[in-house]
Symmetry: C2
Subunit: 203 residues, 2 copies
């Protein structure tokens, strides 16, 4: 049961939060979802077009003047329905293609020094990632505690379409924090692996 057209549903899902322009979508993904998702303009604009054609989203008349207007897209009832159907389907297992692991595996016929270099490099990469995630975690936890959200968080969470209850807002924040936790746990396990390997190969 392979669910394709991931960009399609990602956009639909983001628009189910609030109406946005293509540029907004890109920014939201880059700032808030970068640890588990990515999109690029080459996909976003054509996909928005075809979503409009199918009546899944509506394109605004455009703010601004001249040839570069800002178009805001909002989800339609039909789009909401398609989104809810998609989200209920089991996600297909991610394709596994880890280049670092491949290099590590293939390095066994080379000097151990080379193998270690690959692992040390991986470790520092993941460690750096981890640092960033942890900082975000601290900020988010603090925000949740005192119910005061910094600009970046607001921009991702706010839903101007309709007023959210305190409960809904709390759930949004919890979910947001938990996706971050996933990133942290996984990256920590990678760092732990590196340490396991380094200690084994240097003795």
């Amino acid at each position: 049961m392979s669910t394709k057209q991931k960009t399609r549903f990602a956009l639909l899902g983001l628009l189910s939060w609030k109406p946005m322009s293509g540029y907004d979508i890109k920014k939201t993904v880059d700032i808030g979802l970068s640890h588990f998702w990515n999109e690029n303009y080459g996909q976003i604009y054509p996909t928005l077009d075809s979503l409009v054609t199918e009546g899944m989203v509506q394109k605004s008349d455009g703010e601004g003047s001249g040839k570069r207007k800002r178009f805001v897209y909002s989800i339609t009832g039909r789009g909401e329905k398609a989104f809810r159907e998609w989200i209920s389907l089991p996600a297909d297992p991610p394709v596994v293609r880890n280049e670092v692991q491949l290099k590590f595996f293939l390095s066994s016929s080379l000097p151990t020094k080379k193998t270690l270099k690959i692992v040390r490099n991986y470790r520092s990469q993941q460690q750096e990632l981890l640092q960033g995630y942890r900082e975000s975690e601290v900020i988010l936890r603090r925000a949740i505690e005192c119910d005061e959200y910094p600009q970046e968080v607001e921009e991702i969470l706010t839903t101007p379409k309709r007023r959210r209850s305190a409960d809904q807002r709390a759930k949004q924040c919890t979910i947001f924090l938990l996706t971050l936790r996933h990133g942290i746990l996984v990256v920590e396990s990678r760092v732990a692996w590196c340490d396991e390997v380094i200690s084994l190969l240097t003795t």
Copy 2:
């Protein structure tokens, strides 16, 4: 520094172990490297062709008769050189696109029941994976201990081209086990995340 043409170097690296046919390569990847790599025929055969054209690998004359001969490919000096250059380059960070995380994140406006369903589904998937990895780990560790390798392991490790020293063999097995350890640690962390989420959302 984005290293593309991953299939190209994956094939080159596998052929640096021992000469193989396209079919062998597919089988090796499916059996031994499936937790961090995949390849399909649609990529393998055309890529082998172009590697031959560039003098990176050599195609045998073909065993068998008729139109379906078996062709064995072996790496050339030029290919070995290209492989060693590639492996020394830093691997580019994997593209992050985790559909489960996306669904989880986007489910915040839906009933908690739906969110939980996504997570429980993810958990059982990962748990199943983990079970398989752990079984392989036990087999491999036992094999390493008594220096007796089961057929599947032999098929992946053996290098008929030249006799390997005991040291080299030991290193190969260690590396093989360690790639499996990576899979185990990462999958364990995902299961741990699911548990964290479930306990948080059900209280």
